[in-house]
């Protein structure tokens, strides 16, 4: 791969980043096979444009040209979508297991649906994760080691377990219990995964995020079921399940924001910018959803509305969190303040 510079010149120049003539030199260094296109400035451009002020640091609150301290996540849309799908699958399987415990035939269809959603959710999750990898063909490396310090590694095992158990549940209903247990882990570990980062906003709300993810998973599942044809028993289950989740999600998100905002600069992306807009919208949608649930005399329309609002809300919450995290990673002062203020106390 190479890029051509000065295309309009009579003598344009082509570069692949190294420009070594393989006839006279051998490339065998550690990073000799690092792929590069020679395209200019991506790495730098991504982080900030040209500095337009006098190059000197702010005396009281210094940064390095306001450049990010941290690298923001390279995750695309697939990862927040995965949080949603994984949460959905996990919560569904947990609900399925809980229903199983009731030993009531009237819930059979719902249990089956739970298993299906769980299983399909696991499949989609896997696909999303593989899709987002830099080297998708190496996805199996996730199971190369067992590394308990890495929530992602633990999560890979959890996802594998959940997939296996949910698949097994089609054949042995008892496996549904295992799937339910795995599902609870699947729905919540992503909260740990996000918390266990240096991104100030995520890290600051680490005591809440797994709970928020749990609640949001419940919301997701509850809302999705509301979109299906349901009999009254089923509707009652999902409405109850969903309402608890939605209320909890709203509560957890308020607390998460409070935790993050203990250092003003850290919580800022929750309040400002695109991430702040997403975050607020998500909360409003979820609140709308719960209102639909709690309105007297449930109707199919209300149920559908609630389902859509809840689904979009919880999906949006994941995206909002992703955006807010990235925004706080881009803001060097978020890191500096979050580390300075405890030092100052």
């Amino acid at each position: 791969m190479s890029t051509v510079r000065y295309k309009t010149s009579p003598d344009p120049v082509s570069t692949d980043g190294r420009d070594i003539d393989r006839k006279i030199a051998e490339l065998a260094g550690e990073a000799a096979d690092q792929q590069a296109s020679g395209a200019a400035g991506k790495h730098i451009e991504k982080q900030a444009g040209t500095w337009t002020q006098l190059p000197q640091p702010h005396a009281a609150d210094p940064t390095y040209y306001d450049r990010p301290l941290l690298n923001e996540s390279v995750w695309g849309w697939a990862i927040p979508t995965y949080y949603y799908v994984g949460g959905l699958a996990g919560a569904s399987l947990a609900l399925g297991a809980a229903l199983e415990l009731q030993h009531a035939a009237k819930f059979d269809r719902l249990i089956r649906r739970c298993h299906w959603i769980g299983f399909l959710g696991c499949c989609v999750s896997g696909a999303l994760l593989v899709y987002d990898l830099g080297k998708p063909q190496r996805f199996l490396n996730m199971l190369r080691v067992f590394r308990p310090t890495s929530p992602m590694n633990v999560g890979a095992w959890i996802l594998s377990g959940t997939s296996g158990a949910s698949a097994a549940a089609f054949f042995f209903r008892q496996a549904g219990y295992a799937a339910g247990l795995f599902g609870m882990a699947l729905a919540t570990y992503t909260g740990v995964l996000v918390s266990n980062t240096a991104v100030p906003l995520w890290n600051a709300s680490r005591k809440v995020l797994p709970v928020l993810f749990a609640a949001s998973a419940v919301t997701s599942a509850g809302s999705l079921f509301e979109l299906f044809d349901q009999d009254e028993d089923e509707a009652r289950v999902t409405r109850a399940f969903g309402s608890v989740g939605k209320l909890a999600e709203i509560a957890a998100s308020v607390i998460a924001e409070q935790h993050a905002s203990q250092v003003a600069r850290v919580g800022r992306p929750f309040q400002r910018g695109f991430s702040g807009f997403l975050w607020r919208t998500a909360a409003v949608l979820t609140a709308g959803s719960v209102v639909m649930n709690l309105l007297p005399r449930p109707t199919r329309g209300k149920r559908l509305a609630s389902g859509i609002l809840g689904t979009v809300g919880s999906l949006l919450m994941r995206f909002a969190l992703e955006q807010a995290g990235n925004a706080s990673a881009r803001d060097p002062r978020a890191s500096f303040h979050s580390q300075r203020e405890p030092l100052a106390q």
Binding site: D11, R18, W51, T52, Q56
Partner: protein, 893 residues
């Protein structure tokens, strides 16, 4: 440097800087341009040395200096003169050293008049010729030779008869009190260079100046030494040589020459730039600083030798070196009967240096041009004029790694981009030969400390790439073949008789570089055995030697330049690493490290000393002295040649063996450095009525316009050019490399926040910089590192421009050298590019115009121009080369 001490080479090696107690870096940005040599400066600093950096900009060198002195570009002599005055007025000079080792006690001709008397001119200005007649600068009643490569300039150009006799002791005053002794003349010459005047001229606050002066004085004497380091920040001025002279005077007064941690170090920018003056590809020299014959004077060998051989000092051996050179070139054809083929050599009729060649090209008298590993279009001043020259050629040969701006001048250039010139109208035939890299050929480089180091071939060159050695060798073989039927004509005899039989090797039949080195070293003619050194050379034709100063580098048939004994197995001088000329001496004039009795001035600064028992000089370095000459030896009146060197004459290449504080002969623009303003300045010369160096070389041509000498309202800012660590000179070896290009990817200009405000420039935005020669665009870097200076209550803004960019390569930008006109130092014909004036505006250039092709770029000012010269120096007679072609008062556009 040659005129002060005798040899034109750095007197010390960078590794010895660790022994310095104070280090002054001026006219060099050492940390940026020579980072690895700067290693030794940092080590000295760790050992307690004080580091002083004098520079218009606060650079990476300043960042680690103890003291940074911001100075107006082009005012260094005023600053150094101020220090010289401080040393003398406060009696801080190293008296024993000054009295015995310098010409301070010498008494000067009674007709001598100083610039103090003549408002900026020395005595001897010839109104009709536009040059100095330098006889009044001589010692009383004597006429010592100028040393080395400078010798030809004075005598030859002006055709004065030269008397020859060694300096006599009765013409000195060891008490330094005689009103006409050098010491008193210097004292008077610099009497007005007061701290206040320094502040007014250089913009250096008085307190800061005094601190620097005091630091320098405190760190000299028996126990302590200081070193002075400069680079092209000094040489690229119209008074460049005198800058270096000023440092030399200071170092002589402080007794810092020839001693550990002392000296004057020139930092050079190219791998073998020292080598290319030692074995010169320079018009005026033959290898080993032997002057080329001059048409007007050197009519035959006898005259040539008479004019060049000195009766005293080392140049008394001149005939041996010259005869051996002719034997190396023309072999058996060179005989005593035919004057050793002296009449095979072409002769000079004036200054044939680079800038004149370019002007001649533009005027159509040069037809063919070889450019090897050089890129004048980007790297030399006034790119538009350079290209105009190339367009007039019949043929051009370029040898380089890639198509440089010079090779592609007919296809990619500002005037072609603008449509002013079309490729299909350019008649020049261009050959581009790909060159081999240093890893693809054997050969030696001579570094900045005169050290020859061999590099070995690692692989064959790719494709049609060949070394210059191979190219020139095979071109020579072809020419011999082409001329073989025309040998009847005497003009072709040099080709016929040229010894050109170097053995070849490998599948590419490349000539053996070691065989060439063997010839450079010299050999005895009858058996071809390498000689031991230049002392073995003979004047009877029994020895051949390609460059006498390099003689000894192939001693005993061993390639001394390829020696690589690890540094941890030898002392800090590392004599067994490579080979240094002369005679593997690493610190020149090191006799001066011992007192007149031959003992070290102090234990701390011991280097070489006289060993009474062995009756010879010995020490850590190879003594730069006659090894067996005792300190108490004094020559008789009848002594000639080497015998005239007394036991207390450390500067053996000088005819009187002394360091020259006052240069009685050898320089064209005065015996003492005097502050002159650059050709284009922002202020009037505060010291003299004479604004600029009266002897400066200027080219009064329509395609080379100058601004007003000072206060030009169209060009209010002072511009200086410089280099960055991340690039190499004009960028030919760096702008094509992604690893270097990404570090400094775009041409930029440095301006202060104050100037940015004044001109509405924004950091990271674009600016256009303009002179009468052309305009360029650059990104803006606003920084406090280039502070405005306060001079007489006026704010002087300076603009910094790196000059690495041009129109080709992986990263491209405008070349700073497009802005610079042709002006040069009279002694060495080096351009003035470190200080000139210009204008800066926000935004990108509108047209990228060039005066050479677009005509006048700015309006002519009404009225008469200010004067650069006093009335008596205003007349510049025309020469055959088109420079100094008009009276300066008439202006030039």
């Amino acid at each position: 440097m040659g005129t002060s001490f005798g040899r034109g080479g750095a007197t010390d090696f960078p590794g010895d800087i660790v022994n310095s107690d104070v280090i002054v870096i001026e006219g060099s940005n050492m940390a940026e341009c020579h980072p690895v040599a700067f290693r030794w400066v940092m080590k000295a600093r760790e050992r307690g040395a004080t580091l002083i950096h004098v520079d218009p900009r606060f650079t990476r060198t300043s960042a680690v200096s103890d003291i940074h002195v911001p100075i107006r570009a082009g005012s260094d002599i005023a600053f150094l003169g101020g220090i010289i005055r401080y040393i003398i007025e406060n009696e801080r000079y190293f008296k024993d050293y000054v009295v015995h080792y310098t010409n301070a006690p010498a008494i000067i001709n009674k007709d001598f008049k100083d610039t103090e008397d003549l408002d900026g001119l020395f005595s001897g200005w010839q109104k009709d010729k536009g040059h100095y007649q330098t006889r009044t600068w001589m010692y009383e009643d004597v006429d010592p030779e100028p040393a080395g490569g400078e010798r030809e300039s004075e005598a030859a150009k002006k055709g004065q008869p030269i008397q020859r006799q060694p300096i006599q002791a009765e013409h000195t005053d060891l008490t330094l009190q005689h009103p006409r002794c050098v010491f008193q003349i210097v004292k008077r010459h610099y009497s007005r260079y007061t701290p206040e005047m320094v502040e007014e001229t250089c913009g250096i606050p008085k307190q800061l100046f005094l601190k620097v002066a005091e630091t320098l004085c405190r760190n000299s004497g028996r126990e302590r030494t200081g070193v002075f380091i400069y680079a092209v920040g000094w040489t690229q001025h119209s008074v460049g040589v005198q800058y270096i002279r000023a440092a030399a005077i200071m170092q002589l007064l402080l007794g810092n020459m020839g001693r550990p941690g002392g000296g004057v170090i020139a930092l050079r920018g190219h791998a073998s730039i020292q080598g290319s003056t030692d074995i010169p590809t320079l018009y005026n020299l033959l290898p080993g600083y032997l002057p080329m014959p001059k048409a007007k004077h050197d009519k035959d060998l006898e005259t040539y030798l008479k004019l060049n051989q000195s009766p005293s000092g080392w140049w008394g051996e001149y005939t041996k070196y010259f005869v051996s050179l002719m034997k190396a070139w023309y072999g058996p054809a060179a005989t005593q009967q035919n004057d050793w083929c002296y009449n095979y050599l072409p002769t000079l009729t004036g200054d044939h240096s680079h800038m004149n060649t370019v002007v001649d090209m533009a005027d159509g008298t040069v037809k063919g041009y070889f450019v090897m590993g050089e890129n004048p279009v980007a790297g030399s001043m006034h790119g538009a004029l350079q290209r105009k020259g190339l367009r007039q050629l019949d043929w051009l040969v370029v040898r380089d790694f890639q198509l440089t701006e010079t090779a592609d001048f007919w296809r990619e250039a500002p005037e072609i981009e603008r449509g002013e010139v079309k490729p299909q109208d350019i008649a020049t035939e261009v050959f581009f030969f790909p060159a081999a890299a240093h890893t693809e050929k054997d050969g030696s480089f001579t570094n900045t400390q005169r050290l020859l180091q061999w590099h070995h071939k690692a692989i064959d060159p790719p494709g049609d790439a060949r070394s210059e050695l191979d190219f020139i060798f095979k071109l020579g073989r072809r020419l011999k073949r082409l001329y073989q039927y025309e040998y009847a004509d005497p003009r072709n005899w040099p080709i016929r008789d040229l010894i050109w039989d170097y053995p070849t090797q490998g599948p590419l039949e490349e000539p053996d570089a070691e065989a060439v080195l063997h010839e450079i070293n010299g050999y005895t003619v009858h058996d071809g055995k390498p000689v031991e050194g230049f002392t073995s050379l003979k004047e009877d034709g029994s020895t051949a030697c390609g460059a006498w100063i390099y003689s000894g580098c192939y001693r005993g048939g061993v390639n001394m330049t390829a020696r690589r004994k690890p540094h941890w197995e030898q002392n800090w001088v590392a004599p067994e690493w490579g080979w240094a000329w002369p005679h593997n001496r690493r610190i020149l004039y090191n006799r001066a490290s011992a007192d007149p009795q031959g003992q070290p001035w102090s234990e701390r600064k011991a280097l070489v000393w006289w060993d009474e028992k062995k009756q010879q000089w010995t020490g850590h370095d190879v003594p730069d002295f006659i090894v067996e000459r005792p300190p108490d030896y004094r020559p008789g009146k009848e002594a000639r040649g080497k015998d005239t060197i007394s036991g207390i004459d450390p500067f053996v290449m000088q005819s009187d063996g002394k360091g020259w504080i006052f240069v009685p002969t050898g320089l064209q623009d005065g015996p003492l450095p005097t502050h002159y303003e650059p050709q284009e300045s922002v202020i009037q010369n505060p010291l003299y009525g004479q604004q600029c160096n009266p002897e400066r070389m200027e080219w009064m041509r329509k395609d080379n316009p100058y601004h007003q000498p000072y206060n030009d309202p169209r060009f209010p800012y002072l511009i200086t050019t410089y280099r960055l660590t991340e690039h190499h000179t004009a960028g030919g070896m760096s702008r094509w490399l992604s690893w270097l290009s990404e570090l400094q990817p775009e041409m930029f200009c440095e301006v202060s926040p104050e100037l940015a405000k004044e001109c509405k420039l924004k950091n990271g935005g674009w600016a256009t910089i303009r002179t009468m020669r052309g305009e360029i665009e650059a990104r803006v870097l606003v920084t406090n590192r280039i502070p405005p200076l306060r001079i007489k209550g006026r704010i002087i803004h300076q603009i910094g421009l790196p000059y690495h960019w041009s129109s080709k390569g992986l990263i491209r930008g405008d070349a700073a050298n497009e802005l610079i006109g042709f002006v040069a130092d009279p002694n060495v014909s080096i351009q003035e590019s470190k200080a000139f004036t210009g204008m800066i505006e926000p935004g990108r250039k509108s047209k990228g115009r060039r005066h050479v092709t677009s005509g006048r770029l700015v309006k002519k000012l009404p009225g008469r121009e200010q004067d650069r010269d006093l009335p008596q120096a205003r007349h510049k007679p025309e020469t055959s080369h088109g420079f100094k072609a008009m009276e300066t008062k008439e202006g030039n556009v």
